[in-house]
């Protein structure tokens, strides 16, 4: 169950982050990195939803590409407003996910991982060879920054070029991430989350008590793809360009690593994992050529010492003792 005080705590935290950080952080560069971490977290949450039903999804990079290109094409070619385009991007990614999922969600384990990984590469190649429609290797540039969003003549969101664009981008990333977290939190806390965990532990058993596993796998994968498309759509507007290599196989793999690092048992897991790893490497620029090596070592260390992710520290013995002495309740545990 989600208790309402937890929701309030989350909303206040989100508000403090979204409003507070731009006041404190003046560096455009750091603000940009934080915004990218938030954007990646949204995509990672999508991967987390498929992990929740027991599928290692290495296709999130592809869904981010799809979302990015939808925003790019719709805004530059057809003059569609970014606000409409990003929603459409989410739904088109979801539709692609549903169609793909119908074919591949029967697969499990390493087979599912391999085929989604191939899908990431296939989408990159398709965009690379898409001719004028996708812009080939150069992709699509000069994507306009988000314009004004108004309803009945009242401005709800000002045009980004009329305000500090970097701050506006940061705020947008924070708001989208907060919405994505709320979506995933609600799913994992309601009965659907319980069914997802059931499927993760035994699809056969879940099916034997009447769960339509085919349907629910599609639902989980579809929502995951939706988040991939939203995240990709955000990056298209924030970076004002898309290109086939924008998201690739290494990104798809990293996104799943972020989930494992944070802890797949927690809704906050993918967010914590993304911020830790992504920010860690941004601030350790000198080590970037060792990134994959470091990721690998980190994963091994994780499997040995923290198999349930960083957030499982909150349930470690010494913290629990501390808590019980101080009379605090346990951390929220998803599903």
């Amino acid at each position: 169950m989600i208790r309402s005080n937890q929701v309030w705590a989350f909303l206040i935290l989100a508000l403090v982050y979204i409003v507070g950080v731009p006041f404190i952080v003046e560096s455009r560069y750091i603000l940009g990195i934080l915004a990218s971490a938030a954007g990646l977290s949204i995509i990672a949450l999508g991967a987390w939803l498929t992990l929740a039903i027991g599928r290692v999804n290495l296709g999130q990079g592809a869904f981010a590409l799809v979302g990015g290109y939808v925003v790019a094409i719709a805004t530059t070619r057809w003059g569609v407003s970014f606000w409409l385009a990003i929603v459409v991007a989410g739904f088109i990614s979801a539709a692609v996910g549903v169609v793909l999922g119908l074919g591949i969600l029967r697969l499990r384990g390493v087979y599912f991982a391999m085929i989604t990984l191939s899908f990431t590469e296939a989408v990159r190649l398709a965009l690379l060879n898409g001719g004028e429609f996708t812009g080939g290797a150069g992709g699509i540039s000069r994507i306009p920054v988000p314009g004004e969003l108004s309803l009945l003549g009242v401005t709800i969101i000002p045009a980004f070029n009329s305000v500090n664009t970097h701050v506006a981008s940061f705020v947008l990333s924070g708001v989208l991430l907060a919405l994505a977290v709320l979506l995933c939190w609600r799913i994992s806390a309601c009965r659907i989350g319980g069914v997802f965990v059931s499927m993760q532990q035994s699809e056969e058993l879940a099916q034997s008590v009447g769960v339509n596993i085919t349907h629910l796998r599609i639902v989980a994968f579809g929502i995951g793809s939706f988040l991939g498309g939203i995240g990709g759509g955000y990056f298209a507007a924030a970076q004002q360009s898309v290109y086939p290599g924008g998201f690739g196989v290494p990104d798809s793999v990293s996104l799943v690593l972020y989930c494992f690092l944070g802890g797949i048992g927690y809704v906050a897991g993918p967010v914590v994992g993304t911020f830790l790893l992504f920010l860690g490497f941004q601030f350790l620029q000198d080590f970037q050529q060792y990134q994959m090596l470091a990721y690998s070592l980190l994963m091994v260390a994780l499997m040995i010492w923290l198999p349930n992710g960083v957030l499982s520290l909150s349930e470690a013995g010494w913290i629990r003792r501390y808590r019980s002495q101080h009379g605090q309740a346990g951390a929220h545990h998803a599903g």
Partner: protein, 272 residues
């Protein structure tokens, strides 16, 4: 051994809840189930026995649609359910437990039982997500039902234990709890007494009887002959996939074909 008078005697014949008609299942060249037919009456405890590898579990999987029969028909409450998706068969009221220990490992007993209440709810996915009135009612119903099931299966005392930490006897009960969560009309138990000592078996026999009293028809596959004889109203015996006998426990105990089958487990000639 104590012999019980079957509840069916002296009562007018009831409609069959389940009709298995000429059902066969072949795996490549192997006929796991060959042309088996029988009827299960509403409210009875109906056992299927037979030597190892006779095809009992396969038959349960065929009945609940986990496997599709090569030939034959499964009719449940007057409706042909052959080849229907397993989740739909469960929703119609036929649920099986697993011979292997199949559980939701990381859930507590109460969580696993709650989560197994999937088909009983009225709310759709969106209703659940937005916590509609129907969804709130479902939650209340599920809590009440979970309570009742844990009580029935004597699992109250371990409700907060993680499933994977339960002893074998309780795992069987948990498997049954999850099956009952789908509110079946026909419950199929695959070796409910496996790995139990005689006290646990006695407890489980009591539980199965109470499940039947609550209005659920029970089918079971079991190797523990004394338990089967005590518990069942009627028994079907299969060997090498074929039905070789059907009757009340006394008839089965004295059937020459059954005695031969069990004595000559290695001898194909006696497989009939």
């Amino acid at each position: 051994m104590q012999v019980e008078i079957p509840v069916t005697s002296g009562q007018p014949p009831r409609d069959p809840i389940l009709t298995v008609e000429n059902v066969s299942k072949r795996f490549g060249g192997l006929t796991a189930v060959g042309n088996v037919s029988f009827k299960v009456k509403e409210g009875e405890i109906f056992a299927i026995i037979g030597p190892n590898g006779a095809g009992k579990s396969t038959l349960f999987k065929l009945i609940t649609s986990a496997l599709r029969p090569t030939e034959g028909e499964i009719v449940f409450r007057g409706e042909n359910v052959t080849g229907l998706s397993p989740h739909l068969v469960a929703a119609k009221g036929m649920v099986r437990t697993f011979q292997e220990t199949t559980i939701f490992r990381d859930m507590t007993v109460i969580e696993a039982t709650r989560n197994a209440h999937y088909v009983t709810g009225q709310a759709g996915l969106l209703g659940i997500f937005f916590n509609s009135k129907a969804a709130r009612q479902d939650l209340a119903d599920i809590d009440a039902s979970t309570d009742r099931i844990l009580e029935l299966l004597e699992l109250r005392s371990v409700a907060r234990e993680r499933s994977k930490n339960l002893p074998q006897g309780r795992l069987r009960a948990l498997g049954m709890a999850m099956a009952l969560a789908a509110h079946p009309k026909l419950l199929l138990l695959d070796e409910p007494f496996a790995g139990m000592n005689s006290d646990e078996t006695d407890q489980m026999i009591g539980i199965v009887r109470r499940i039947r009293e609550s209005g659920v028809t029970v089918m079971l596959v079991e190797h523990d002959m004394p338990a089967v004889m005590r518990l069942s109203d009627r028994i079907v015996v299969i060997n090498f996939g074929k039905k070789i006998a059907e009757g009340v426990p006394e008839e089965i105990k004295t059937s020459q074909a059954v005695i031969d089958a069990y004595l000559g487990e290695e001898d194909e000639e006696l497989g009939i």
